[in-house]
Structure formats: C-alpha cells, structure tokens
Symmetry: C2
Subunit: 504 residues, 2 copies
C-alpha cells in the first residue's frame, strides 16, 4: 500500500497505491465539495493533484442512492484517487450527524472511495480531558464497528481517525488502539483550531505523540492547509493533509504567501509567479467581480500550497529539510517556538540518512541538536571506547578550512611531534572530532557560520569535551579561541594551552 | 529624477524618471545582448521589466553609425527604459577596450540611452591596493571627461561608476568625488566576483561604504543577479541591479530557486509555479533540445528574480524587511555572516519608519539590534532624563500578554500600592519599558518568541537596565524570571526581589 523512497528527519517521499492510481506523498489533498465545487476537479487534476478529499456525509444526504450507483469519482468528476471524510467535521461544527457508523462505512464502500474514513467524533481543541476521553472512546468504537462492514477486496485504504488533540496521552492511546485494529493508515484529528490559534508548538507535539506510536504507516493530518504548517507537519512525519483553506481564505480575500496569508487590501505586489499572478496585477484582482476573484485567489492559493509541498520534497532530496524548517520558522514567532521541539524529538534521527551528498549548514545553537550532530557525537563515544585504549595524551586543535582534518598539514605536524597522542579538532556543533574519523559525515561535510559562538549556548559541546577528555592524563590545547578557553575552564580541564605548535 | 515613496531599513520603493518612462525601484535590470539576445525584449517587457541594460561598446563595434541613426531602443527592440554599460565589463574580462571615454559618452548620448554609464576601469576583486587606487583614478578621470560631452537636455540619467571593491576607503573616496561632480545616480562596481566567491559580507560592507557617502541618490549595483543577494543589496540601499545571470546560469543548466541555484540534474521537483514550471515537468526539461531548454530555464530564472524583488518590495510595505532579510540569511552560512553586519549599520535607522502598522517579530539576539529597538532604547533614555526627576523608587515587572503594559491590571495594582514609584516592564529585545511609554511603537507592537533567552546574548539589555536603574534609590523587582535574576546580578543591582505583588 505504502512505499517509502526517500526520507529526511521524520519526513518521507513515498507512494500510496489506491484503486485509482498511485499518489506520491507528501501530498496536499484539496477539499472538494460534492455539490458546490467552484474550482473544477479537472483544474485540480491538471495542476497535479492526484488525490482529493470530499465529504461522504454530504454526498449521502444530497445524492443518496444516486451516489451508490454512479460512484464518488463520477459524482465529483475526478478520475484520480478520492479520499472521503465521513461527517466528523460536521459533528465538530454542528454537534452530531444523523447516521450510524456502519451505514456510513457501507456507503463509503458503495461509492468506491479510495481512502475512506470511518465516522469519528473529533475532539477539537480546548475540550476538557474527560470529555475528550469520551470522544476518543466513541471514535474507537465507531472505527471497530466500521471495520465489520469493510470489504477487504476493494483495495481501498481505510484510515483510522486518531483523536485526542492537546491531550497527548489520549492521542497515543488512540493511535495504539487503532494500529492494533489493523488500519493501514492513520489520520490525525482536528488541528484546524490549533492552527487558527497559531498553537503550532502544540500541533507539533500532537503529531509527535501519534507518530511515535505509528512510525511506519502513512499518516494523514486533517485540515492542515496553512502554508506555514506544511514543512513542520511533513518534517514530523505527516504524509498527506487536506484542507479547504484555499477556498475559505479566498472567500475572505486572503492571499497565501510562502510565509502565511495576507489580506488582498494589504497586498501591494504579487511576488508569486503562478499563472494567476503572472497574468494579473493587484489592481486587476481588486476590480474583478467577487465570484471571479474568489476563484482566482483560490487557484493562486492552490499554487502556493503545491509549491510549498514541492519545495519540501526537494529539501528532502537535498538532505536539507532541517535547514528548510528552521528557515521557515522565521516566518512567525509561534512557528519558531514549534521548531524548538525538534531539539528533543528522537525519532527525527530514524529517517535522516547516514550520509548526505550535500554539505549540511550550521547556523544557530539549535543546529547542535540536528540528528546528524547527535549521531556523530554518539559515534565519537563509541570510537573512544573501542579504539583509543592506550593513548594517554590528548591534543585539541582548531578546525582547519580544509577537510578532513587528518589531511591538513597542521595535523601532520602534530602527529610527527606527538606520535602517541590522540589528536582531535572540534566544532561547537559537533563536539570533539577525533582526527581518525574526521572524514565521516558530517565532520567533513558541513559549512558553519563563522561568528562568536557563546559556550553557554552549546551544552552538548561541554558534555562532549568533558566526557572525551576524561580518560586522558595529559591534555594539550593548541591555539585556543575564546570558545575553547571558556570550555576548558567550564569543564575544569587540567590542560596546557599553547598558541602555536611550533612553540613546543 | 528619483522619488522615494516608501522605505524600510536602507531600502526604498522609488520611481526613477527616464526619457522613456518611469521605472519603479528596486528593480532587477536584465542584461540584453545588443546582437545575440535569445530571450526577446518583448518577453521581458511583458514580464514587467521596464528597464533593461545593454552594452554600448558592443553596440558601437557591431552597429556603429547604424546605431546612432536608429537609436538603442530600436536596435534592441524595446520601448521601455534602457541603461547602457560602456565597456567596463569588457575591460575587466579582456584588459582594455579600443575607445576613448569621450567617444563612448558621445556614442551613448547619440543612441539615446536613458541611463548611460561612462567608460570605467573596474577594480574587480582581489586587486592589490595600489593598483585599485590607480583604477579608481582612471575611472574618475574618465567620468570627468565624459561629463564634458554630456548633453543635459536629453533627460538621460548619467550614472557614475564607483570602484574600489574590497578597499572600502577607495569606495568611499570614489563615491564622494563622483557625487561632487554632480552625477545623479551611482553604480557600484564589480560585485560579480565577490558573489561568485560567496563573499557576501564583503559585498555588504562595500555597499555600506558607498551608501554612507551617497545616502539619497539612487544606487545601481553591477552584476548582482544571484537570488540570495537581492534582499541583502536592497536592504542596504541598492535601487537597481543588473545581471546576465538568468541566461548564464541557464546555459549551465542552473535553475534558480529562492534560496540559490541548483543544477538541473539535482532537481527532482519543480517547486516554482511560474509559467515555465507549471507547464513542464523536470523530465520534460531534461528531454528538451539544448537551445530550447536554455531559453526555458532562462525564463524561469527571470521569474525567480522578479519574484524575489517583488517579495522584498512587499516586505518593505509590510515593514518586515528586517524579518525577511534574517529569514533569507538562513539560505547559506555565508549569507548569515553578511546579515550579522546589520547590527552595526547605523544608516538602517534612517529609512525605518517611526511607526509600523504590523507588529514586528523578535526571534534571535540579533533582533535586539533592529533599528526600532535601538530607537526605543534611545527614547527611554530621553524619557528618563526629562520626565522622572522626582521618583526615587523603581519597580520592574514582567511583560503581560496584554499590551500596552499600562492598561494591565497588574500595572494598576502596583500603582495603587506605590503611587510615587516609576513602574516599568522589560523585554530582552527592547530593554526597560517605562509604563508611561509602553504604548509607543514597538513596545506594544511586537511579537517575541518565548524561549529561554540567555542574558549573555543580550548586552543591550544589561546596558539598558544598568543605566536606567542607576538613578533610583530603591529597586523592587516583581516575579523575576531567570533572565531578570541574572540581569540583576550582572548589573549588581541593589534590588529587592519578590515573587508576587500581593506579598507586599
């Protein structure tokens, strides 16, 4: 059903096989209204959206048996893959829907949905714990009942709705139960309100809670149509995400940009080069009839969403998703707060390739927590415990412009003078770098900003230095900069500091 | 000739009046080859480029009198404004050109160039000081000789070539001399090599050196066609910049992105939505005939350059150019190094509006050096020296979610208890905020990342606290966080710390 082709952090480029074709993920899934869709599904298909989502509940209410006869693809005039939501959103908006889970599941089966979702009971955001727990229980019960009518021979991918929102233990519990029931794909509920409140950090933690439990199966994120949250959601492991935002924002004259949305009347320039923007001026958009303008802005918004997903996919291929997410984080302080949690999310390491073709970039203290840096520091610990038993003297030497360190003349000079010493260079981001493994990624494959790094900002460096230096009897530090001087002091190293190797 | 309509940092949105129309700046100026132009000037015009640059020296060699008769607009088939370079680039590439400065100036006059540039002697990058000084002298002499033949009645804007490159005193000297000669516009020489070497910090310092001397006149930057340098150059005050990069990169199969360039064979996804990219796949680009592909990539590159300029212009209108530059700086460590110089460039304050409609964002320690923050801290100093003579007690209180601080209940409670005290809130980015002026921009109009700010990273805060607290006999600090505790310690404040106002 789902194959992963590339990955970086928890993000992956994959292929989802549905009865109507292959969908490359990560994918933005436009919401299509089964009755009143204004941007045609043909346009969506032509833009490259191979998967759309529509509402089975509205389809049932409006078309009934006609939909059973014609099938959902004919109803919405789309020959790609179709995901169907089943009224959960209506429950969230209006309190309840007049249909049983089994009826709904049977209907989704009958209309030949490629990726059907059982009727869930969304927790939304801000629901008290006991109530949320109750909703989770209802959703689980619905899912189980839906399973009874599911026909395994259709090839449809049934998606389990994971609820719980900001109650992360409920999210985990939900995910675990649904996983056990055997669903092949999960959908994370109700982030719309989290996103509208710019609670991106909470959204991130919610995704992590679910993803930890179900690392392998594809994950859909409901209602995630804000350009700001796309890189975050993908980097944390979401594979598909739907939204009607392109249309809702358009109706509100909100124009998407790579950094968020802007009201049309605040817009002076069209920096976008999409077919809409390259054939109109801001003034022309203003002068259009409302309906026409809404459609044009909606189309533009779709281009922005698509571009964002493609940019993230390219970043995955480049091995620069971390850089991309951290750059995007500067679009809003709340997004930056969300990006901070990347420091501690261990699962980001699993998807991050062991070797990357392109150099990685180090800018800020947060970059010391990149999976590549964590992994390198761990490798150094292993190296030390296995390869250096006999050495008693440690020599620390600043990094050279030339990589790897063992190929530099300064290294060779030192080794000539001290053949029995363990020679290392170091980096605020990577910690201690033993010369012998200075060619291992990313020790030789990084580019760091040269600036006055402050020791206080690099606790991993202090830790790395302390534990490495611990085993040596004599320590010699060559040409220490302020950073190294402070580090030696902070770790109470009994070290000898010299400005120049030639002085020895 | 040049009117400024909006500004932010040293950037400005302006209008340049030439004999062939108005050019809105900042503007990217595509290089057009007078003989072998492959992307048609009609296409450039249609894309919205109102100003192009072409080479008068090549035009002279190839067309001679025919060009004098037909005029440059007819020769290149472009009815917008035309800037003409005069062989300086050929001097840089081939060592010398066979023409006198006066002949060249006369020719540019004859072909009705809208924005002609006298024959200069580019210093390039890496030239030793004495040689650079000589070249600057030659350029100044050429400029003076050119002035003799300049016909003031044509309305043409003669541009003075500022040379000197990394020898900043020569840049300043050049700029000052040319300014005195009466040129209405300046052009900064030879950053191509700086940019190819990713020496963005040096490029930035070169621009600052010239801009300081000529703050008002429009400034052109030669050969600045890398998408990474556009925000930097505009933010530091460059109004126009030309390049043939769109074509040169295309010939080399290099595809521009908002974050740089990427080789076509490294490209897996087209995240761009421009007319080229939204009508082709990567595979289709690969399969095209070379000439066809070059043109398509060149067109795409032009869209990226245009989009970048428009995005910067929108950021100027939004008052968020600082945010934009700092975000863009995360595209490459070398660009980040260049952005560091923004801390100390005083002239950025002049163009930054006193009030902005949108909140500004504070993310990182560098943001304490934003012009708005510097200005606020200065205002606090003035406020203190003029308004608070009689108060003996200072009360410091953390910022509330609600702005301005004087409208909060915590402020009102304090004032009730201590009517004679000076009450202030504070921010790592803005320093001390006296309640009375807590509604002044940006004290109430900012959004800051909530994270563990480290005192060491905020020297301006320490300075602000020290100088403000200095005049008081008694200091009370309410509900101090770690940051404030450390600050009180670092400044040796003789302060009383309490957890809660109600305890008093």
């Amino acid at each position: 059903v789902f194959e992963v082709w590339h990955s970086d952090l928890a993000a992956r480029i994959g292929r989802l096989q549905t009865p109507h074709g292959v969908v490359e993920t990560p994918a933005f899934v436009p919401v299509v209204h089964p009755v009143r869709q204004t941007v045609s599904t043909q346009f969506l298909k032509k833009m490259g959206f191979d998967l759309v989502i529509t509402n089975a509940y509205i389809t049932l209410c409006h078309y009934g048996d006609e939909a059973r006869r014609r099938g959902i693809h004919d109803i919405i005039n789309f020959d790609g893959s179709v995901m169907t939501d089943s009224g959960g959103y209506q429950v969230l908006e209006y309190g309840s829907v007049k249909v049983e889970p089994e009826t709904m599941a049977q209907f989704e089966n009958d209309i030949k949905s490629d990726i059907p979702i059982p009727l869930d009971r969304p927790t939304g955001y801000g629901l008290e714990y006991e109530k949320a727990k109750e909703y989770v229980a209802i959703t689980l019960k619905n899912a189980l009942e839906s399973l009874r009518v599911i026909n395994d021979n259709t090839g449809a991918i049934w998606v389990a709705p994971v609820q719980g929102a900001e109650h992360f233990d409920l999210v985990e519990y939900s995910a675990r139960e649904l996983d056990t029931m055997g669903f092949e794909m999960m959908a994370l509920g109700s982030p719309v309100e989290l996103m509208e409140a710019y609670e991106f950090a909470m959204l991130a933690r919610m995704i992590v809670s679910a993803k930890r439990v179900i690392p392998a199966k594809p994950i859909h994120l409901f209602g995630a149509g804000h350009p700001l949250t796309i890189p975050l959601a993908i980097a944390l492991g979401c594979d598909t995400f739907d939204s009607a935002s392109y249309m809702l924002y358009a109706k509100d004259n909100r124009y998407m940009t790579p950094n968020g949305t802007i009201r049309l009347d605040e817009l002076s320039y069209l920096s976008c080069q999409c077919p809409v923007c390259s054939s109109h001026t801001v003034q022309e958009l203003h002068k259009m009839e409302t309906d026409m303008r809404t459609i044009e802005i909606a189309k533009h918004n779709l281009h922005i969403l698509k571009a964002e997903v493609e940019a993230v996919k390219q970043a995955i291929m480049d091995g620069r998703l971390w850089e991309y997410v951290m750059q995007k984080a500067r679009a809003h302080p709340k997004l930056m707060e969300a990006a901070q949690i990347f420091k501690d999310v261990e699962m980001l390491e699993e998807g991050t390739p062991l070797f990357k073709e392109k150099a990685i970039f180090f800018y800020d203290p947060i970059d010391q927590h990149r999976p590549e840096a964590k992994r390198f520091r761990r490798m150094v610990t292993t190296f030390q415990s296995s390869k250096m038993k006999k050495k008693k003297k440690l020599i620390l030497c600043p990094e050279d412009e030339i990589h790897p360190f063992y190929s530099t003349t300064s290294y060779k000079d030192i080794v000539k003078k001290f053949p029995d010493a363990q020679v290392c260079s170091y980096s605020p981001f990577l910690g201690i770098i033993p010369a012998e493994i200075s060619d291992i990624f990313p020790a030789s494959h990084n580019l760091a900003t040269k600036s006055d790094h402050k020791l206080e900002d690099y606790p991993t460096f202090v830790e790395s230095l302390k534990s490495f230096a611990d085993k040596f009897e004599k320590i010699l530090i060559i040409a220490p900069d302020d950073f190294m001087r402070q580090a030696a002091k902070a770790t109470r190293l009994n070290a000898h500091l010299v400005d120049d190797i030639s002085a020895l």
